[in-house]
Structures are given as structure tokens and as C-alpha cells.
């Protein structure tokens, strides 16, 4: 937030390396916690809570993808498929073995991580566009497999109904309950990512991204770290898929098609590659965009279109605006919303004496 460093002196290395290096930032975090844990669930309408819930899930997935693309510099167009791996793993475990969410959730993540490592293996030899195509193949193969193997997909509909998660006999049935469930995992993912990227492993990821030859010369086994990035990133994706499954109460392959992979890539491009805050901002932005467009069109568009045309216009407009925005950000602000935020912050940092 808008805090100033002047007059603050750090005397230990741990103070210098803290996540919130300034005392006032601790207050910011406390206030955010108060807002999200107490005020929002008490005051916000169920419908808006359901949107917030979708954002929380997207945050987990976007953070995972950003670890791979933004931090390690490897691309994946197969992340929706990793989500589906997590989703169907959890759904099968929950339905067939009646396991609770605190087992199915990590299990879904681990299964996705294992598949992610396999799909990431070509990254040893290929980079960039070629790796994108290899992961695209991974996406299509996984999609097809889930759709055509009844043992995984649960029959002709390729969807599995799942009970809402419960803890200590309390079932997270309403959006209000799910809100706390999903908020917990979103915060967990944020903190875990912040820690990961500031520690030894995270630094090694960035080294692989910036200069793979130099990374090798200082002792980083780049193949190992690329696969590690795929594993961690797919783990997040798997968990994200499990959360979707519990949120919708159903695991369905249609939620995890290629377009979803693109959506998530859009989140981290618009939000900012290689940035935790960017992942969050991107997830918020991309989740809200279609909703805002729909509300806008329902109010303004009814002047120009008949109700029958409306559905087509909205879905077309969504894609158009989406594509336009990605191009806009790539040209105007390649570092995304995160950079805009930092610009605003550094302007106000010395305000009003900015000379």
C-alpha cells in the first residue's frame, strides 16, 4: 500500500528479508484480514460471494501458472488439463472411497503434479513456441483420455457428482460457507507462493528463466528445476481443479477445456508475469470481465438488440474484449496490472514532493 520507507532502519537480516518489511504493512495486512474474514461475509450478498469464490479459485490456478510461466520462463497451454486431472482424481476418491476433502485435495494436486512432470519433460530440449505446442498436445491428450475412459470420467456424461466438503460435521453447503473454505486455500496459496519465490528454489527458477547457461554454471541443474517448476505449477492447477469440483459440486470435463488454459494465461499476462500480486489482480480481472460485460449488455444492450440476440452478442463480445485486452496489455504495459500498481505507488511514495 502507500507507505513510506523514510525513518525506518533495519538492523537484522531477517527484518530486511521479511515479507512485509515495513511496520505499517503489517497493519495493511491486518485490515485486509478484517475486511475479508469478518466484514465481507457479514455484509455481502450471496450472489457477490459466489463471484468472490470464483476469484479465490482462479487465484490458486493463476499463481500456479505464474510460477511456471512468469518465474521459470516455461510455457504451458495445458494447465486446464492439469486442473481436470486434479478434479477427476478428487471426484473419484470422494465418490468411490468416500474420502474427505483434506485427503482428496492434496491427492488431486499430487496426481496433477505427476502428470505435469510428464507433460513438462520436453522442456529439456525445446523452448518457447515448441514447448507451447508440446503442452497443447498434453492438453488435448488428457482431455480426450478423460472423455473416453469411463473408469475415470464416470460414464457417458463424463461428469461426476460430488458432495460439498465438510469439516467436523459442518458441511460447506452455502456460498457463505464455501467462501471461508475457498478463502483459506487462496490465502494458503498466496503465502506459499510468496515464500517459494523469495527462497532458494524460487531464485533458482528465476535464474533458469533469465540465463539458463549462467544458471548451470552456478550449480543449478536446469532440467531438474524445469521439471520441479512443472510439478509445483501443476500441483496448484490440480488443487484449483479440486476446488472447482467442490464449488460446482460436479467434476465435468467441459470446465477444463483448452479455452480455460488460455483464460489462465490471459490472467497472468494481464496481471503481470513473475508477480504474486499480478496473479491475484489478473485472476480478479479475468473473472470479473465477463460478468461486467453481461451486466453492461443487459442494461445498455437491450436498447439495440432483441433478447434472442443478446446471448450471442454477449458471448461474442466477451471473446472480442478479451482478445483486445491481451493485445493492449502486451503492447502498452507488458508487465501488466502489477506494473500499473507499482507506478501509482512509486508516484505517491514521494508525493507531494516528487522532485
Amino acid at each position: 500500500m502507500f507507505h513510506r520507507e523514510s525513518g525506518i532502519f533495519k538492523t537484522t537480516y531477517s527484518a530486511d528479508m521479511a515479507l512485509y518489511p515495513l511496520p505499517i504493512a503489517k497493519w495493511t495486512v491486518a485490515i485486509l484480514a478484517l475486511i475479508f474474514v469478518v466484514i465481507v461475509p457479514l455484509t455481502v450478498h450471496e450472489y457477490y460471494l459466489s463471484i468472490l469464490n470464483l476469484i479465490f479459485i482462479a487465484v490458486v490456478g493463476a499463481l500456479g501458472l505464474n510460477i511456471l510461466v512468469g518465474y521459470t520462463g516455461q510455457i504451458s497451454i495445458g494447465h486446464a488439463a492439469f486442473m481436470s486431472v486434479g478434479a477427476y482424481t478428487a471426484a473419484n476418491l470422494a465418490v468411490r472411497l468416500d474420502l474427505p476433502f483434506w485427503i482428496t485435495l492434496p491427492a488431486g494436486g499430487l496426481m496433477a503434479a505427476a502428470i505435469g512432470v510428464v507433460v513438462g519433460m520436453p522442456s529439456l530440449r525445446i523452448k518457447g513456441l515448441y514447448l507451447a505446442i508440446a503442452t497443447l498436445a498434453g492438453q488435448l491428450i488428457i482431455e480426450w483420455t478423460i472423455n473416453h475412459v469411463p473408469a475415470i470420467s464416470g460414464g457417458a456424461q463424463a461428469s461426476i457428482q460430488v458432495e460439498r466438503p465438510s469439516l467436523f460435521g459442518v458441511s460447506f453447503n452455502t456460498q457463505g460457507h464455501l467462501y471461508f473454505f475457498l478463502l483459506f486455500f487462496a490465502v494458503l496459496a498466496i503465502v506459499a507462493t510468496l515464500n517459494l519465490v523469495r527462497s532458494r528454489i524460487g531464485r533458482a527458477f528465476v535464474a533458469v528463466r533469465d540465463q539458463d547457461i549462467a544458471a548451470e554454471i552456478i550449480g543449478i541443474d536446469i532440467y531438474r528445476y524445469k521439471l520441479l517448476a512443472f510439478a509445483i505449477s501443476s500441483f496448484y492447477a490440480g488443487v484449483c481443479g479440486v476446488l472447482y469440483t467442490y464449488y460446482f459440486g460436479i467434476a465435468n470435463y467441459e470446465q477444463f477445456q483448452l479455452i480455460v488454459s488460455i483464460d489462465y494465461l490471459a490472467m497472468i499476462i494481464i496481471g503481470g508475469l513473475g508477480s504474486v500480486l499480478g496473479s491475484i489482480l489478473g485472476a480478479v480481472f479475468v473473472t470479473l470481465l465477463p460478468i461486467v460485460i453481461r451486466i453492461l449488455m443487459e442494461n445498455v444492450g437491450s436498447l439495440f438488440f432483441t433478447t434472442a440476440e443478446m446471448a450471442n452478442v454477449i458471448s461474442g463480445l466477451r471473446l472480442g474484449v478479451f482478445g483486445g485486452l491481451i493485445i493492449f496489455f502486451l503492447i502498452v504495459e507488458p508487465e501488466g496490472l502489477n506494473r500499473l500498481w507499482r507506478n501509482i505507488r512509486s508516484y505517491f511514495r514521494v508525493w507531494p514532493f516528487s522532485y
Binding site: Y13, S14, N195, R203, A214, I218
Partner: protein
């Protein structure tokens, strides 16, 4: 302050790094042919030669980027010829690059911390949890890095991204990153290339300090003959992939083959 006279702390015969008759061909081009190199513990050995003589290729074979077609690279009695670059680094050989290879998106501090990657152990789980083991380790290694920051006078640049630094400073940060891994042998590929006289003298001072105060053996590629002759204990001359002379700076300077490689024959043509 020439170190060209035989120093007491350089132990002749105790070779820390030995290169035995390595050759490397790329297609039809022979980059290095049957070159041998002996690097005594605690010495500064310089590799000189005209452009394209195979100096960097030789360094690449020592650090594991190229696998030699023939020959061996031996570090402290251990054959490291076939090892991966990352394993060679873990065994204690650090290097810098001719055209700086820093991690441009990271700060000076993080670049140096990365230099200590092989000395650190935190895995994924302890990194994610951070508070506790990973934090303790980070702080311990931060102290070692701060010592190098002080040594190279980089204090005010700690939190600067390396992409924002001037050329000479980036070279210094790269030296710092190599030092951070506490290497036994340091390979420097033209550390003074593209620098002005002041910067060259600073860098030469640092190289000498690294060698004498920190006891690191240095293998140096450099084109500035003044610097090379001043600070080297031993000079190896390559020409067109072959070793043509070895000796102290004085011996090499008097060697007619070396003069020929650099200046061409005095009569009858044959240019370099």
C-alpha cells in the same frame, strides 16, 4: 606489485587442476587440439592467444559445457571430464563469462545469493513453509554474501536490479556471484574486456585479492598484456587451438613462437 616472481604460497608440483591433452572439434573445425594445462594450487594462471585460439573453448571444457573429444580434466585428483556443468560447479569450479551472464531480472543481492545455491539445501517444502529452516539458512548465507558485497564495494547497489548497472559494475557483480560459491578454482573469461584503465586496475586488484587473501586459484583469459604479465604466476599461450608456450611471464615474452603468433614472422610473410 607484480606477482611474477615465484611466490612462496604457490606450491609447484601440487597441481589443483590438470588438463591433459584435450581436443575439441566442431564439425570440420578444430577448436582445441591436444592442449594440456597445469594449474598449481594458489596460483594465477593466464591463458592468452590471438582471437579464435581456443581459449574460451578450453574454459568451456573445464567447466563442463563441452565434452572434450579426447583428453581429461582433473580437479584435485578427480576426473571431471564427463560431468555436467552444475556438478562441476558443486565440486568447486566457478566462472565468469566474456559477455556478462547475470540474472537481469534479479537484484545484485539475489544474484550473489544464487551464487551460493550449491551450498544451500532448502527443498521445496521448507521453502514453501519458509519460517524456520529456510529462513535460518537464508540469513546464514546472507551474512556470507554481505561479506562479499563489502569486499567488492557493492554496498549501495544491493537492491538494484543488475540490468540497471553500468558495464564495469556488472562485471564486478559477476565476479561476486562466482566468489559467493566459495570456489576452489575460479575461471575468469576476460574480466577486464571493454573496461577503461581505471576499471582494469580495480579489477586486477580484486583478482589479486581473491587469489592472495581468499586463497582461490585463478585461471584467467585476458587480452591486456600489461595486466597478464603483472599478475600471472604462469602464462599459457594458445594459437589456432594448440598450446605453443608455457612459462613465467618473462619466459613467455621472450619466446620467439609467441612473438610470431602475435606479430607474424619477421621475414617471408605469414600474417596473423
Amino acid at each position: 606489485m607484480g606477482a611474477s616472481a615465484q611466490r612462496a604460497d604457490v606450491r609447484e608440483g601440487d597441481n589443483q587442476l590438470v588438463v591433459k591433452g584435450v581436443s575439441k572439434r566442431f564439425g570440420g573445425v578444430t577448436a582445441v587440439q591436444d592442449v594440456s594445462l597445469e594449474v598449481p594450487r594458489g596460483s594465477i594462471v593466464s591463458i592468452i592467444g590471438p582471437n579464435g585460439a581456443g581459449k574460451t573453448s578450453l574454459l568451456n571444457m573445464i567447466s563442463g559445457f563441452y565434452k572434450p573429444d579426447t583428453g581429461q580434466v582433473i580437479l584435485e585428483g578427480q576426473d571431471i571430464t564427463q560431468k555436467k556443468p552444475s556438478d562441476v560447479a558443486a565440486l568447486g569450479i566457478a566462472r565468469t563469462f566474456q559477455n556478462i551472464a547475470l540474472f537481469s531480472g534479479l537484484t545484485v543481492l539475489d544474484n550473489l545469493m544464487l551464487g551460493r545455491h550449491v551450498l544451500m539445501k532448502s527443498g521445496v517444502l521448507s521453502s514453501v513453509i519458509y519460517w524456520g529452516m529456510a529462513q535460518k539458512e537464508d540469513i546464514a548465507h546472507r551474512e556470507a554474501v554481505e561479506e562479499i558485497i563489502e569486499f567488492l564495494k557493492l554496498q549501495d547497489l544491493r537492491k538494484q536490479p543488475t540490468s540497471a548497472l553500468a558495464y564495469g559494475l556488472r562485471k564486478r557483480v559477476e565476479l561476486g556471484r562466482a566468489l559467493a560459491s566459495e570456489p576452489k578454482v575460479l575461471l575468469l573469461d576476460e574480466p577486464m574486456g571493454g573496461m577503461n584503465q581505471d576499471e582494469k586496475e580495480d579489477m586486477a586488484r580484486y583478482v589479486l585479492d581473491v587469489n592472495q587473501e581468499r586463497g582461490v586459484t585463478v585461471v584467467l583469459i585476458e587480452h591486456d598484456m600489461g595486466v597478464v604479465m603483472d599478475i600471472s604466476d604462469r602464462v599459457v599461450v594458445l594459437d589456432r587451438g594448440r598450446g605453443i608456450a608455457v612459462g613465467t611471464p618473462e619466459e613467455v615474452q621472450r619466446n620467439p613462437k609467441v612473438v610470431e603468433a602475435y606479430l607474424g614472422k619477421s621475414k617471408g610473410g605469414g600474417g596473423a
